[in-house]
Amino acid sequence: MRAVRPGDDHLADLMRAAQAGHPEAYLELLETITPILRRVIRRQPFFAGFEEVEDLLQDVLLSVHAVRHTFDPGRPFMPWLLAIVRNRLADAARRRARTSAHEWVVDDLDVTFPASNANSGGEGYGDPEALQHAIEGLPTGQRQAIQLLKLRQLSLKEAAAASGMTVGALKVATHRAMMTLRRLLTAK
């Protein structure tokens, strides 16, 4: 069934009631004009995405709300509404033009710099077995710190609660363990 387009007189009546402080009339008015506004905005070539259309629609609705006292009860409603829509669309188009003027479209590059050090890819240590042995050879406190903080990824607070060590002692133990591991593994 095709929807009947609301008449201007009916919309003007609703707006007059809204100005007099009747929320039901205002709700009906806003619910009636929302799909009309959405259609008008969708027709603009600039605003295609759903979120963009809804953002602009909400912008228009907020503007209508802010200046609803400027509606002259003796004049038609739609020219009043469409003048606001045109203004908000023009503002949005200007904002968009300003933003796009400062944006650069670039390819999704795989690397940041050509230097090999900058493109390590974040791989793990090459010899996990040697790393496991080195961790097992650490003093108890340092080993426990590495296992809790680095392998189980606990927070300092959680690791302190699990190990019974203070946060400061955990930090010191982790630092010493990392120094020892670096020394042991790079020496090989």
Binding site: A18, Q19, A20, G21, P23, E24, Y26, L27, L30, E31, T34, E51, E54, D55, L57, Q58, L61, L62, S63, H65, A66, V67, R68, H69, T70, F71, D72, P73, R75, P76, P79, W80, L81, L82, A83, I84, R86, N87
Partner: protein, 217 residues
């Protein structure tokens, strides 16, 4: 998009207090004129008169009526420009009296230029700040009244407001002006007027912006 549009609609409706519709542009112009005339009368009483008035002739009357008509037409157009739905062609209505005013001034200037009645220009530089002082209250009243509207054409609104204020200030200051010299009027008053219009047009976008109502919904 912070929230679904349907939620926003419900919130707007729930927060819709009664509002007083703005009076029609011509009614608001009348209210503004009352404020301006009271101020200009006070200014006339307080202003030190350096010399007696020149006798009022027909040219002076036409010039003043044209300036007043320019101010009134520009004020109506300015108040209409903040109400969505009014045609912007209303702004054209102020062009006719403005043209008449400038033509009358121009004719008088040409006559004075060719005669020996030309008064010393720089000795009357005080006309410039006098026009600004005469326009202060009309400008502030106009600004306060216009900011209640919708900023759909801020540059046009400020240009028309500047024209209205400057025209009315000219009318007011011409009654306390010691000399009836059109060249001085043209040089100081009209230059001041277009200066005000130019500044108002440049800064119009900053004077009139959309109110943020998101805090109230």
């Amino acid at each position: 998009m912070a929230r679904p549009t349907a939620d926003l609609v419900r919130q707007l409706a729930a927060n819709s207090a009664a509002v007083q519709p703005l009076p029609r542009p011509w009614l608001r112009t009348a209210a503004w004129l009352v404020v301006c005339l009271l101020y200009l009368v006070l200014l006339d009483v307080a202003w030190p008169h350096e010399a007696p008035y020149k006798p009022i002739d027909g040219r002076f009357v036409v010039e003043q009526i044209a300036a007043l008509a320019t101010g009134v037409a520009a004020a109506i157009a300015a108040f209409a420009s903040i109400v969505p739905g009014y045609s912007r062609r209303l702004a054209l209505a102020s062009f006719l009296p403005l043209a008449l005013w400038l033509v009358v001034l121009g004719q008088s200037c040409a006559r004075e230029w060719s005669s020996s009645l030309l008064p010393p220009m720089l000795s009357h530089w005080g006309c410039f700040p006098a026009t600004i002082i005469a326009g202060l209250v009309p400008a502030m009243a106009m600004l306060v009244m216009l900011r209640r509207g919708a900023p759909i054409a801020p540059r046009l609104t400020t240009a028309l407001a500047g024209l209205a204020v400057a025209s009315l200030a000219n009318v007011g200051i011409r009654f306390v002006h010691p000399f009836d010299a059109s060249l001085i009027v043209l040089a100081w008053h009209v230059v001041a007027m277009f200066g005000v219009i130019g500044l108002a047009t440049i800064f119009g976008n900053r004077l009139f912006t959309w109110r943020d109502v998101t805090d109230h919904v």
